[in-house]
């Protein structure tokens, strides 16, 4: 996991996704080919850090490593550039987590490898209010 994380850490810290040089469409996670026009002319692009919730769920049965946080919210966030990101929504008043809510990205501890292993940081979203 340590090397797998290190390889794409900028994607986790800064939401660096893809931009199509041909048609300008932007994506996160990054792509090899443009989903809109099919072009292979793809370059890295930092995503905007704000968007809105398209849909959300509250997960009660977590994956290993996420037990302490359960239940927690996950959402499909449509960023202001149209890219869609799957991410947790944290530190928000319960009633504010709704389809259509405006959210902003922040960096949090995503996974921790026990007490002696590494800490892996990643993006999560917070409702703007």
């Amino acid at each position: 996991m340590a090397v797998q994380y290190w390889r794409i850490k900028d994607r986790y810290y800064r939401l660096i996704g893809s931009k199509c040089r041909e048609c300008g469409a932007e994506f996160f996670p990054p792509v090899y080919r443009c989903r809109r026009c099919g072009s292979g002319g793809i370059e890295d692009k930092e995503m905007p850090k704000k968007g809105e919730i398209m849909t959300y769920t509250q997960l009660h049965q977590p994956l290993p490593g996420f037990e302490a946080q359960a239940p927690f919210y996950l959402a499909v966030v449509k960023l202001d550039n149209g890219a869609r990101v799957l991410s947790q929504v944290v530190d928000s008043h319960e009633e504010s987590v709704r389809t259509g809510a405006r959210v902003r990205a922040t960096v949090r501890r995503a996974k921790v490898d026990g007490d002696s292993g590494q800490i892996f940081y990643g993006y999560k979203f917070v409702v703007e209010n």
Binding site: Y12, L86, A110
Partner: protein, 387 residues
């Protein structure tokens, strides 16, 4: 190119559930022997093993050779096929294609999954491997969470109620009562579904297929081989695998299961059959919302009406298109890599009048539908009675 006719000549399968006393290989051998029983004249020319997570579940790969050797068939080419929860369906499709094209005269397809040896969170991780390690597993989204996101979107965008969503699990449980191999054989009410424990809001326990162990096997033969037998058979009339944009939330319209639609249309075209001719459909309802969207994608229900139509009785036993005649994924069970082959075995039972108390009257044609991921790989096969 000359094409053979292809038949399912026999099937074998284990009961689905907590098979503590049987290993992955025990289950696979049991199912395979069931399919090979009474077919001593036929030695399969190739074996395909459908399985999703033997590595994580049993620290075991190389299932093809493992099973061939165990069956006393060392020497026969044998490989594992994996496409997440549609592994069994894909294994069947590849076998079907090779027999149809004349490369093989016969093939044995075995789907097997051992889930119960793992702790629940480990099963969750194994299933999550159907989705992106770096961007889905990493953010803590389990496979159920993805379907929860889909379910809320479905309910909010298309005005589907909690009660609507509960309809398909109710049908599954009703059909499994008389199914000997089913994991859960108790009928339930809509309320039971709607009030069960929360898994990934809005999906509750009874919206989700259970964890279970099982193996199913079918033997495929071509017309040349089939003519030597007096057995009743089901004919495979068509089959397609279609892949989709990998992450469902990146698709233009999340509520359009286009891979399922294309697989269905393609398989039906290959069969030269119109949808009205179908007598039953074994659909992949790993989650209630997935069953609904599959029915809509295949055109049996209009957009947003999959669950609502089920609630009105459109897919119940005795209707024009009964679904999941032995209980589907929710009640018959879903030992993931095996499910696609269970579905074929069930279609075979229906079309050879061997379905007992689950028999669909005058079953002429039927389909099986298997999904990996969230309509990420979709596999549809069409079956008919052997002429």
């Amino acid at each position: 190119m000359p094409r053979s006719k292809v038949y399912v000549s026999s099937a074998g399968f284990t009961k689905i559930g907590d098979q503590w006393g049987k290993s992955l290989l025990d289950l696979a051998v049991e199912a395979a022997r069931g399919a090979l029983k009474g077919t001593s004249k036929v030695k399969p020319q190739q074996i395909f093993v459908g399985n999703m997570f033997s590595a994580m579940g049993a620290r075991q790969e190389h299932l093809g050779a493992l099973l061939a050797s165990a069956l006393g068939l060392a020497g026969v080419p044998s490989v594992k096929v994996e496409s997440a929860c549609s592994s069994g369906g894909s294994a069947f499709n590849i076998a079907y294609s090779l027999v149809r094209s004349g490369v093989l005269d016969s093939a044995l397809v075995v789907g097997v999954e051992k889930m119960r040896d793992l702790e629940p969170e480990e099963v969750s991780l194994a299933l999550a491997m159907a989705e992106s390690a770096e961007y889905t597993q990493f953010v803590g989204a389990s496979f159920a969470a993805l379907n929860g996101l889909l379910a809320r979107y479905y309910m909010e965008q298309l005005d589907v109620s909690r009660e609507d969503l509960s309809a398909i699990p109710v049908i599954d449980h009703a059909n499994a009562v008389m199914a000997g191999h089913a994991q859960f054989r108790k009928a339930i009410t809509s309320d039971v579904v709607s009030r069960s424990g929360m898994v990934a809001d809005p999906l509750r326990l009874f919206d989700c297929a259970p964890v279970g162990d099982g193996a199913a096997a079918v033997l495929l033969v071509n017309d040349k081989t089939a003519s030597r037998s007096k057995r009743k058979m089901a004919e495979v009339l068509g089959g397609r695998i279609v892949t989709n944009e990998f992450s469902f939330y990146e698709r233009e319209d999340m509520l359009d299961f286009n891979a399922t639609r294309e697989a269905f249309v393609g398989a039906m075209a290959q069969a030269g059959l119109s949808p009205q001719k179908l007598s039953f459909a074994e659909i992949h309802d790993a989650f209630s919302v997935v069953g609904a969207l599959a029915l809509e994608a295949m055109g049996f229900s209009r957009r947003g009406c999959g669950s609502k139509d089920a609630k009105e009785g459109k897919y119940s036993e005795g209707s024009d298109l009964p679904i999941n005649t032995f209980g589907g994924l929710k009640a018959r069970g879903h030992p993931v890599g095996a499910t696609g082959v269970y579905q074929v075995a069930e279609a075979y039972l229906q079309l050879t009048d061997q379905a007992g108390k689950n028999q669909v009257e005058d079953a002429d044609f039927g389909i099986t539908h298997s999904i990996g991921g969230v309509d990420t790989t979709s596999v549809v096969h069409v079956f008919g009675k052997a002429s």
